[in-house]
Subunit: 234 residues, 2 copies
DNA sequence: CCGATGTTTCGGTCGAGGCCGCAGCGTTCG
DNA sequence: CGAACGCTGCGGCCTCGACCGAAACATCGG
């Protein structure tokens, strides 16, 4: 059967601890080298190289040569969404046992705000999406084109070049609802979500935590999210 | 790391061909016995029993005893969504090679209309969602409560007992947008989607294809979908 | 009470695949 | 031009887990 082996092969690729660790390390959307990924997964570079070749052959990873380095990144937001959905389904039964026991500061920060592929997720990501919908700037409708007129003005004022995004030939959806792993509600993905996150980083509102997908909100960000989006308690 | 092993363990469970086959056989939402699943996966019952125990322990499957039979079903729509998202990501690179070659009538029927866990998917599922949104009966908004007043009247007339659904204590979302594997667009899931699909089966509009998740539209269904939803060419 | 059937447990085999050491290739820099 | 560095391919080791046969257990029908 066709879909049978497709499902098994893809899942088996993610099912190896070393490969899972590397994929997870790539969830923040950056491109990393084989050596860095090897360290992240706790294996030697030659082992990592073999894994990366398999993942790339399956279309889960995209590689890019640059000098003597070879950068690897997730092939598409679809892959990132798959990883989140696996974790979401996996937490089903064991959420109680795991979370209450191991909840450390690292996990707390991840739930508060993190990047999902290239856009914002966590409590902050969901709050942002809620705010945009509540103010009529976004509809988060199925096909993702539902930026309202008021929203277009708003995002332009916020510093996003919507015309440029519209011109870009990318086949990626403009605005895609993305199911939040920890919050289990939707946040804003797609090109709009990516641009929004990038702008927040550029404004100095957010800072990446080292070696993690978690992001921290700066003092300027706290003011900014309050004044521009009406979000408090971030 | 916590999420690391969670991702790997869950994916590894799906990654075995035998287990993947059984999960895929359960995608239509029915509950099957260990023997039936063993036959579906091409393994002996005792091997299947071991696999099912693991899947149940991980919270991916829910089991239910009834006499000397033991029925297994997917634990939640979240699991079904995970499986679809894995197949979606897996098709990424190989879609061209596989689909053009192997596209048979079976695959064609699957794309036209199928069940996804317990609601409708495929071209028909997406067309249904589009129609409902276009007529202002549904918003398919993020949290899923966005049944419009006109929609409530419409669904009541169509034969769904919305009051009963509202009363049921299920923690499941009322109306959840579900990403369609083949169409890559959203269709209607959640309790509303399930009730809608059940009603279509009860009306004799749809019939399950034997041994597959595909469903076929009856002549009555053709008329019904046209008159009630404005869908042609089904 | 006794077979028949569905399901689970146990023990043992075996094959697949992850892992590393080593070696070869390409790139960068002194 | 040679050395250092990053990456990849190959061969061998070894562990893990899927698989089945046999047998025990539970349930239903006669």
């Amino acid at each position: 059967m066709l879909s049978d082996s497709l499902l098994a092969e893809t899942a088996a690729l993610v099912g190896d601890p070393a490969r899972a660790g590397m994929l997870l390390a790539l969830m923040d959307g950056r491109a990393l080298t084989a050596g860095e990924l090897a360290r992240a997964a706790g294996i030697t570079p030659q082992t990592a190289s073999g894994h990366l070749a398999k993942l790339a052959a399956a279309g889960l990873l995209a590689t890019q040569r640059q000098g003597r380095h070879r950068y690897h990144r997730l092939a598409s937001p679809t892959v990132a969404q798959m990883l989140e959905s696996i974790m979401e389904a996996g937490t089903g039964r064991r959420a109680d046992a795991c979370h209450t026991v191991v909840t450390g500061p690292r996990e707390r920060a991840m739930r508060a705000a993190r990047t999902c592929w290239d856009h914002l997720a966590g409590e902050l990501g969901v709050a942002l999406a809620d705010s945009l919908v509540a103010h009529g700037r976004l509809d988060l409708s199925p096909e993702g084109g539902a930026l309202t007129d008021a929203g277009a003005v708003f995002f332009q004022d916020f510093g996003l070049d919507l015309d440029d995004m519209a011109r870009s030939p990318s086949g990626r959806a403009f605005c895609r609802p993305c199911l939040d792993w920890s919050e289990r509600r939707l946040h804003v993905g797609g090109r709009l979500g990516a641009a929004l996150a990038a702008r927040c980083f550029a404004l100095g509102w957010l800072r990446r935590c080292d070696g993690s997908r978690a992001v921290s909100v700066t003092e300027a960000g706290r003011r900014g999210f309050r004044d521009a989006f009406g979000i408090r308690d971030v």
